[in-house]
Symmetry: C2
Subunit: 373 residues, 2 copies
Amino acid sequence: MDNQFEFFMPTKICFEAGISKKVDKYISGKNVLIISDPFLYQSGVAKQIGEGMSGKNVAYFSDVEPNPSCESVDKAAEVARAINADCVIGLGGGSALDISKIVSCLVTNEGSIYDYYSGGSRTLSKRQATLVCIPTTAGTGSEVTNVGVYTNKKAGIKMPMVNNEFWPDYSIIDCELTYTLPAPVTASTGMDAFCHAIEAYWNKASQPICDMLAIGAMKLILDNIKTAYSEPTNKEARAAMIKASLIAGIAFSQTRTTGIHALSFPLTTEFGANHGTACSITLPAFIKISGQQAEAKMKALTDYLGFESLEKFSEAIEELMKGMNMPVRLHQIGVKETDLEHITEVGLGAAIIQLTPAEMNKETVYKLLKSIL
Amino acid sequence: MDNQFEFFMPTKICFEAGISKKVDKYISGKNVLIISDPFLYQSGVAKQIGEGMSGKNVAYFSDVEPNPSCESVDKAAEVARAINADCVIGLGGGSALDISKIVSCLVTNEGSIYDYYSGGSRTLSKRQATLVCIPTTAGTGSEVTNVGVYTNKKAGIKMPMVNNEFWPDYSIIDCELTYTLPAPVTASTGMDAFCHAIEAYWNKASQPICDMLAIGAMKLILDNIKTAYSEPTNKEARAAMIKASLIAGIAFSQTRTTGIHALSFPLTTEFGANHGTACSITLPAFIKISGQQAEAKMKALTDYLGFESLEKFSEAIEELMKGMNMPVRLHQIGVKETDLEHITEVGLGAAIIQLTPAEMNKETVYKLLKSIL
């Protein structure tokens, strides 16, 4: 796709340690809704941001759960409408950011998310509220994509929703917000960011701008994730990780992801693995087969990152994950051999799986999963 | 600046061989003004694009000269107002694109460019017309910046104007438009793109997203410029060059340029050198001193590009330029020793010169110019 591509990422990125306390200056609205998970609300982080805003009416919605459900979206939208929000701030990991995207639209689009998503027939009209995303993990990349992922609990599926109204107006990137991340979250979200970068790079819809960003992001992550994991307040490592996550986000915002993310959906909804773990658990296996249809590109990548071969690269990633106490075999997250056929089927149901640079069918996907059971 | 930066580039980029014939689908307006230089009009390129638009009123302004003057801007604005343009297309090198930026604003902002620029006191209000930029050289990068450079003939100065209304809505990148570029233009515009990339990279306002893009763009140029120069219809080389120019443009759109561009202004306005030549003629000398304040970064760059040292890098660039029959000494473009003091003064008058990673004052700039007299 190198000779035919598009690039569009209209979000303004503001990156600075401590910037989240100054978010006030980016907001022209009066009625602000800050959406976060319960922890960020109870620990005072959300309030600190809200209290930094002078002369504004600030409300909070803090019932965001991991892998947010459509029901949570509708509850948050009710609050946003009740305060007539002209600014919605998503604060958190991917879940809070994703909810903020759809809620900023639903303020002026009546009805439920189900009317617009997963079989709904309505189309979101132009967003009126300012949308600000403030990531608190270094992994999601959601702050620079036009994608929100929501779980339809009725149907038991997790599905991405792509909409040009979802590009945040501002992404406020403050590495200080990640200092308190627990080590396992640093590991899993950091590896999620790595997946975003490598999936953008080897993607059948890859393109040169994103390739350059993806390569840079991967190097930053490999150079810094261990330090961020073991020294949570290491400013340089934390800044590097959230920078890498942001840059990987820009990369996959244009290309979408591939098999790793496709297979992560059932591993999360049905086996409860967190998103980063559900992605990275198949990463080493996907690296091994990525040479099938992207041989030259993967050779250039391993050369740049300093690995002798895809096999060695795959092994190094697995060792890195083990060193951060991440599961590297499916049985560690409760998957049994009898589950593999079903996971294969659900994974193949996600269109993005066909962007993987390798033949993806019932046999090959089953074989890949079996190899890491 | 790596730990404090912003990024904002809201233009939609569409890259495809032959795409300029299909520009119709990006335009919702009715009254289209296509701005180009006389050659692109007479050779039929502008008309080919205009005739590809069904059901639109298309007018042409083809009086664009190199280093466009404020007078040309005002003439084009008159035409745009007369047809009530709701879409302005800039087609050409930097000159046509730069004129299209300000003209797209002047349609609904009364008065002359002098009212808004170079001492003028008015502020441009929000642009109403769609702005589309279609580069026909691989060098300017103007298609992805919010900068226009205009020559104030009365004052005899060439000055950049920066405005957020200048971000094009669409950049349509069609390598086929560059097949007919004469070899000297391929050389000078390609080296201009290289300057954009390296000036973004070593800039005191550099930042990681642009660094990754700049490195990638430099490598693309070094790998392809000679082929594009000697085989004008080599599709791969032409696509690589216009891609590199685009990517270098994104990089310097965020950081601005440095001493190379600052010194190019007098070399163009007073000695008639074309922009790419006026920039690249000082490039080897600037490379030599770039280690002063950007040692580690320049070491990483030379390692990546495969040069032993800055000295060798500088020599290689000079050889490359010589191989494309470009001047590499100031006397070749008519500069005498007695001119150096004046050039130094004018160069130091451009604020961007202080973004160079080396001490820039009367002594150092004079010395640099003297070394390449």
